[in-house]
Every structure is written in structure tokens, then in C-alpha cells.
Amino acid sequence: MTTSDIAQGDKNARPLSLSGHVGFDSLPHQLVNKSTCQGFCFNILCIGETGIGKSTLMDTLFNTNFENFESSHFEPKVKLRAQTYDLQESNVRLKLTIVNTVGFGDQMNKQESYQHVVDYIDTQFESYLQEELKIKRSLHNYHDSRIHACLYFIAPSGHSLKSLDLVTMKKLDSKVNIIPVIAKADTISKSELHKFKIKIMSELVSNGVQIYQFPTDDETVSKINTAMNGILPFAVVGSSEEVKIGNKMVKARQYPWGVVQVENENHCDFVKLREMLICVNMEDLREQTHTRHYELYRRCKLEEMGFTDTNPESKPVSLQETYEAKRHEFLGDLQRREEEMRQMFVQRVKEKETELKEAERELQGKFEQLKRLHSEEKSKLDEKRRSLEDEINTFSKKKAAAELLQGQSFNTNANLKKDKDRKKSPEMEAKDVNLTCDEATNQNHNCCFRNL
């Protein structure tokens, strides 16, 4: 049967009266028994400045000591620390996870502070979504780590919200159930508290922040829930120490001027918070997280991935078809990219080839030019050599002629010398010294020696 048939069936259902006791009124009990056996799970996120009292309030709420240590004010960025505990009350087991922010509001530049919290919440949603989309899944065994409630601790300045509070709550209101609380409320007097609460609520409303509203559709709890909705945000005081009042030990803070009792409704709204958060609305918080916040996340995420419920012709499209279509598209895309790359490769090769050819041509040109220059110079040099050789030839001819002449003149000189020896010998010597021609010098010397 398709869904449309079943729907039609509902319209045709007519109420019948029973003539006896059948017994299916035990269904809720069966459900309760089953879930009790299974155990419950609840995750709380506490956001607040360092030292504002998150861990102390958790200790006080769950009446135990969770052994948290103080964090320093000098963390470079906001971190989240999650711890899981197993608690038991009567025969009900609760798997409680408390996530605390570390270093929130301490940095100089707090513009990135909210992002870490948003990322954490999204991660929890993502892992649940992954589990849901698995082929072989075990949702009933799955440890649900999605945040069911977020307690936002507001510092009791008495004036209004801080700018960081406003920015953070705006980013978180569509992802998680926000319950704002005023921390360390024993520093505000009653009249100031009234004004402070009104101011906070008006600021939240005027900025469009949607905090968690306790459900008013169930008649058994609607009255108390409506009343509580008007008392938000709760002004709480936490304490892990006990003080003796009367003959009882109560959780309280001892001051020189009095004792603030945590569980006294006149002193603070702690009891109201405990009732609302744990006793009355815990299951509703879980349901809201699953049906509203998680569904919103899932829808956004799947839309991002390209899935739609209806294709452009407004016909319902199933997931498988979408998968197939996407796969086809993806493969086609891949092929196209491959083609592109191949073409690009071919083109590049061509380009490189033409470049190289160009370069070769250029080189060839240069080579020829150089060769030409070389041959020109060579011919010039040859010319010069020839002219030089010619000169040498003429010179040597002249030299030979000159020697010949000199040789002849010597023979005549030798006769003359025998007459004019005594007078001219010192001059001849001087002349001899001055003659630079080699052969002439030798011959003269010989003449002189012979003369002497």
C-alpha cells in the first residue's frame, strides 16, 4: 500500500466503543518498561564565562560531585570539554553527558568564540546523520551525543546582556534549545533582579533570539509551564558546601550578613530550574532536539549535497533515483574533465613545438651571420698578410742592395785609411761605436784591429 492509501484509510476510520476491557491501555507501561530497561540519555551544554559557576551548578543540580577542575583565564581560544557519567535514581538509569566551554569570553577578540560551539553542535548532528545514512545501522544502540539542552549563563551585571551573549545566542537558537540562566544571582537584590530579567527578555525578543519555551500543549503540565515561561531567565545560585540551618544540613552559601539557601524559593530560582529541566521537561527537550533542530540540520545538509524531495516538475523523487542521477552526473563530469585535460595537453605540446622551431630558426640565422663575419675577417687578414709579405720582400731586397753597396765602399775605404789613420782613428772608433748595423760593425772592428 502506498502512503496515500493509508491516509485515505484514516479519514474513513470511525470511532468504535468497546464492550469490555481489552487491555491495550497497558501500552504506555510497556513503552516505559522498555525504555527503563534501555536507560535514558541526556546531554547538556553549559556555556558561560570562566568562573561563572557552570560546574558548581551541575554539581548542585545532580546532587553529586563531578570533579571538575578550575580552568585558566588565559586560554587562546574556546574549547569544549565533554564528560559522560552514569547516574541512577530508583530503577532509572541515566547516561548524562555534560559539555562545558573552556575559555569562553576570556579572549581579547571574541569574534570567533561562538564558532567553536556551533561547530561542536554540528559535529554531533553530523555523526547522527552519518549513522542514519549507513546501510547497516544500529540506531537503537547508538549513543546519542546530540545536545538536548543548552544552559547559557548570563553574568549578573544588573544592566543588560553582554554583546558577546547576544551574538552567541543568535547563532545558537536554531541549533539547540537555549535556556538562559542568571548565574551567581546572590549578588542582585530582588528589585534589581526584576528589572534585569525584564531587560534581558526584551533584548532577546527585539533581536529575534528564540529561546526554549516550555511546552504548553499538554494540559497536565501546561499551567506550570506557562508560569515558568514568565519567570525566565532563572536566577540561580549553586553551592557544593552545606550549612547547618535549624537541625538540617542544607546546601547554602554562608556570608557575614546571612546565609543564602540554594533550595529556598525565596532566595533563588534553583528549585524551579531543577523541576523544569529535569523533572518535567527532559523528555520534551530530547524530542524537540530530534524533531526540530536535528531535522533542520539534516534538511540543510542534504539540500547542500543536492538532494531534493521534489524535482522541478513537483513530482516526488525518491532517494535512489537521486543517487543514480547524481552518480551519472558525476561520471559524466569525470569524463568531460578527462577530455578537457587531454585536449589541453595536446595543445600545450603543439605550442611547445612551435616555440622550439622558432628557437631553432633563430639559432640557425645567428650561426650563419657569425660564419659570414668570420670569413670576412679572414679575407681581410689574408690581404694584410700579403701586403706585409710584399713589404718584407722589398725591404730584404733593399737590405741586400745596401749591403752590396757597403761592401764595395769598404774596399775603397780601406785604401784611404792607410793614409789618414793617425788622425782619424779615434773618430773612427767613435764612429765604430755608433754604427748599429751588425755586419758593418763586425767588419769595421776587424778593420780597426788590423789597423791597430
Partner: protein, 381 residues
């Protein structure tokens, strides 16, 4: 003796002129009356006639109770028509400086009190360098006083320098936060910083002690120079010394302020009314408000002014002059307008020139000698 009465008595003693007797017994001291023992009285009379002025700066996140505390301290209402901003308006807020000046009088002594408020500090989402307007303001006042002091007509100098800065540390954390550390470090050499733990009625006595120890230790660790109370003289009373010691151990003071008067123990006192009790602002076992008031107004007001004049202002002035002269020697066209000032900074430029000239001279001397030698030799030959 009751602690409060004791404190009042000793404070009175401080205000009235004390006549110190001479320590050494001089031989042949002429026991006739000279009269200079009345000098303190004369100082007192003149100062009453002149009147006093005091500038106090308050800094801290909004909602810490600064205005309430100032109102409680001076028993007036300085912030009548104040407009507080919403959270969304404060996301990108910058720090403003607002001055309130009032003239108050008590027993013939006139005080011109200026409160410098810093709304917007630490309120924005991005608080990088949010103290810059504040340091600029303090420097501006120093600069104005410096100019007035160096001027020709110095009769009516207005002293707008900030004498004390009360910094409000939130009691909700475990100690100092990065913005607190950065702010105090930016200001500790410009003004007397007095850290206070605000809204102390959210801490039990144990928690107060733990927080004070933590803050003191962090102040030392980060090297923040907060205002130190002067050591009392060795000839003061034991009780005074004891009080002084207690005051020093109480730093930083944990204070509560209140604008309202409530009925407690049969009296009308300033306090806060809670369902579980009444916090009295002036009760020493509830908070350190009384100590703060005594310290700030009754005993150390003048010391705060002195430290501002002698230490912070002089540092500023020396730095200013040094900057000016180093700038002028680089720019050789102008002559220094303060010729009597000796250059404490070694001037690298002129030293280098002098060295070069020296070397040149030496070389020329050598050449001269050589030439003389040559001439001498030439003559011999």
C-alpha cells in the same frame, strides 16, 4: 580599642599638623622662643585658602558597579541622567571618555573633584587595544601640563592630570583575565593604578581571600606595577604601623557600593537589602569599602598626587624631551630651543665627521713631512 575609632583617631592625627621635637639636644641651646614651629600651621592655612583638586579615573566593564561606588565614596549622586546602551549597540562600541567635575566642601576645605569615566571599556566583542583612548587621554593631560609648565605665564596652570585610576576586577572569575592584564600593563607607568574587586557581595570570606591571593600573585607574575602605599616612618605609632600593614595585606580591596539607604541594626546605613540579610557598605567585616575610602580620601590622597607629579609626570617629561632632542639632531636645520640641555644621547653623526677630519689632518701632516724631507735631501745633494 575599637578598630574604627582607632582608625579615625590616627587619621585625625595625620590631618592636623604635627610638631616634631628636635632630636638632638644641642649644648648651650638658647631656650628662647624662635617661632618656626608654627610653619605647619601656616602651610595648613595657605592650603585651605588655595583649595585642592583631585582627578580620579574609574575603569572596568559595564555593570561592575563603578558609578555606584563613586556615589558611595563621595556621598553624592554624580550620574543622574545616564543612558545605558543595549547589548546590540555595544557589539562594536569604542571607549569614550566622560568627565564629571564637582566642587565639594567640608569644614572649610574645598575640593574640586573630577571623575573620569570610561564607558564602553571591555564591552565590545573585539576588545583589542580598547585602552588606547584612555592612554591617549592621560598622555594628552600630561602634554598639556608640560606645555603650560614650559610657558611664560605660569600663574594659572590647571592641573588636569589623572591622579588615580581605580580598576574594577570582576569577582565572577578565578583571577585576572587577559583584558585586565593588558589594561593594567598599558597604564601602570602612566598613572597610579589601584585594583579593586568589584561586587564583593557575591563572594564568601574564604572565596574573597582566595581571589585576593590569586590576583596578588598574578599581578606579581605579570609584572604589573600597581600603586604601592608609602612605607610609614619608623617613628610612627605601633598602631598606625599595624593599620598600614593590614592595608597593604588587603590589596586588592574588595568593595561593595550602594545608592540606597536601608535600616539595619536600628540605624539607617548605606546598604543592599537581600532576602537573606542586609549588606552594609560601611561595615568592615562585610567589605573593604571603609579602607578604600580612608586610603583614597583621608590618608593617601596627597601621596597619590605626589606620585603622579614626581614619578609618572617626570617620566613622561623626560621621555618627551629625549624624543624631541633626538629628533632635532637628525634635523640639523633647527637649533635646539633648550640650549642648556646637554645631549645625553651619544651623537653618532658628529663623532664620525670628527673622526674623518682627524684622519685627513693626519694624512696631510704626513705629506707635509715627506715634502719637507725631500726638500731637505734635495738641498744636501
Amino acid at each position: 580599642m575599637d578598630a574604627i575609632m582607632l582608625q579615625e583617631k590616627l587619621v585625625e592625627r595625620l590631618l592636623c599638623p604635627r610638631v616634631r621635637t628636635a632630636r638632638r639636644k644641642v649644648k648651650n641651646w638658647n631656650k628662647q622662643y624662635v617661632g618656626f614651629a608654627t610653619l605647619p600651621n601656616q602651610v595648613h592655612r595657605k592650603s585651605v585658602k588655595k583649595g585642592f583638586d583631585f582627578t580620579l579615573m574609574v575603569a572596568g566593564e559595564s555593570g561592575m558597579g563603578k558609578s555606584t561606588l563613586v556615589n558611595s565614596l563621595f556621598l553624592t549622586d554624580l550620574y543622574k541622567d545616564r543612558k545605558l546602551l543595549n547589548a546590540e549597540e555595544r557589539i562594536n562600541q569604542t571607549v569614550e571618555i566622560i568627565k564629571h567635575t564637582v566642587d565639594i566642601e567640608e569644614k572649610g576645605v574645598k575640593l574640586k573633584l573630577t571623575i573620569v569615566d570610561t564607558p564602553g571599556f571591555g564591552d565590545a566583542v573585539n576588545n583589542n587595544e580598547c585602552w588606547k583612548p584612555i592612554t591617549d587621554y592621560i598622555d594628552q593631560q600630561f602634554e598639556q601640563y608640560f606645555r603650560d609648565e614650559s610657558g611664560l605665564n605660569r600663574k594659572n596652570i590647571q592641573d588636569n592630570r589623572v591622579h588615580c585610576c581605580l580598576y574594577f576586577i570582576p569577582p565572577f572569575g578565578h583571577g585576572l583575565r587577559p583584558v585586565d592584564v593588558e589594561f593594567m600593563k598599558a597604564l601602570h607607568e602612566k598613572v597610579n593604578v589601584v585594583p579593586l574587586i568589584a561586587k564583593a557581595d557575591c563572594l564568601t570570606p574564604n572565596e574573597i581571600k582566595k581571589l585576593k591571593d590569586r590576583v596578588r600573585e598574578e599581578i606579581e607574575r605579570f609584572g604589573i606595577k600597581v600603586y604601592q602605599f608609602p612605607e610609614c616612618d619608623s617613628d610612627e605609632d605601633e598602631e598606625f604601623k599595624q593599620l598600614d600593614k593590614e592595608l597593604k595585606e588587603c590589596c586588592p580591596l574588595a568593595v561593595i557600593g550602594s545608592n540606597t539607604v536601608v535600616e539595619a541594626r536600628g540605624q539607617r546605613v548605606r546598604g543592599r537589602l537581600y532576602p537573606w540579610g542586609i549588606v552594609e557598605v560601611e561595615n568592615q567585616s562585610h567589605c573593604d569599602f571603609v579602607k578604600l575610602r580612608n586610603m583614597l580620601i583621608r590618608s593617601h590622597m596627597h601621596d597619590l598626587k605626589d606620585v603622579t607629579c614626581d614619578v609618572h609626570y617626570e617620566n613622561y617629561r623626560a621621555q618627551c624631551i629625549q624624543d624631541m632632542t633626538s629628533k632635532l639632531t637628525q634635523d640639523n636645520r633647527m637649533e635646539s630651543p633648550i640650549p642648556i640641555l646637554s645631549l645625553s644621547t651619544p651623537d653618532v653623526e658628529t663623532d664620525r665627521l670628527i673622526k674623518m677630519k682627524d684622519e685627513e689632518l693626519a694624512r696631510m701632516q704626513e705629506m707635509l713631512n715627506k715634502m719637507q724631507q725631500q726638500i731637505h735631501d734635495g738641498k744636501d745633494q
